[in-house]
């Protein structure tokens, strides 16, 4: 059961860098112990929140891309919920969307490849008609 997920979470802005490192590494170990893989960790940095969350106006955004089953997400979300400095988190499944995008891209590429060929053939046809 391999699915790709994207976990975005916000930690409080006054959190020390080392604590954040520690939190991320514990999450990574949790992922690997549950049988998933961490695809990427992206720190998006401090950002202004659109609304106040627990009296904070800013937050440090972190984006975690993982692959694994539903149990993994359950575990990660539980951990995030328990962790005090995490203000908010959002999990989005991305593999189906990616599949859809790949499909569209494939169709577009195929069309792009196909386009020059018909453009060339009508000319040939026309000239043939003219000569005939």
């Amino acid at each position: 059961m391999n699915r790709a997920y994207e976990l975005m979470f916000i930690v409080r802005p006054d959190m020390v860098e080392e604590d954040l490192d520690k939190l991320i590494s514990t999450l990574e170990t949790a992922v690997s112990s549950t049988g998933g893989t961490v695809k990427s960790v992206e720190r998006m940095g401090k950002r202004r929140l659109a609304y106040t969350v627990r009296r904070f106006h800013d937050g440090v955004y972190v984006l975690l891309t993982v692959e694994g089953g539903g149990g993994l997400i359950h575990e990660l979300e539980r951990r995030l919920r328990v962790t005090e400095p995490v203000l908010k988190f959002l999990t989005v499944r991305i593999d189906e969307e990616q599949k859809r995008l790949d499909k569209i891209k494939k169709i577009r590429d195929a069309r792009k490849k196909a386009a020059p060929v018909p453009a060339a053939t009508p000319e040939g046809g026309e000239t043939a008609a003219v000569t005939a």
Binding site: I10, R48, A50, Y51, F89, L90, V92, E97, L101, I104
Partner: protein, 119 residues
């Protein structure tokens, strides 16, 4: 010409030169007007003509409507924080569906406000 002078000279002498051309013009354009002025396909005296709305996502071939792309989503959120309806933006139904779900996800993670402007 004879008609003009008769009409203008009757009220007074001084406005005659300025009014003359306009009087002379008035019957003129009435003919060519239905033929189409510079405005394009306008009917009768209607002032507005609606431009055809097109789906931004279809035209620009934006396929992925992601909740992280705040700048894109913000174009479809009103000042009050509401999602702008399709009938105003012209977005097609499949894209509006994706758009609204993306906006809702962005709201959830505090990238977009639920109500009011982002402070």
């Amino acid at each position: 010409m004879a008609e003009e002078t008769r009409a203008t000279s009757a009220p007074s002498e001084s406005p005659a030169p300025s009014e003359g051309p306009s009087h002379g013009h008035r019957p003129g354009p009435r003919g060519p007007r239905p033929g189409g002025g510079p405005g394009g396909p306008r009917e009768g005296g209607r002032k507005y003509f609606r431009r055809k709305k097109v789906c931004k996502f279809c035209v620009e071939k934006i396929e992925s409507i992601n909740y992280k792309d705040v700048r894109l989503l913000a174009q479809f959120v009103a000042e009050s924080g509401k999602i702008v309806p399709r009938r105003l933006t012209g977005v097609c139904t499949p894209h509006q569906r994706r758009l609204s779900s993306a906006i809702k996800q962005a709201r959830n993670i505090a990238l977009l406000p639920f109500a009011g402007r982002a402070n």
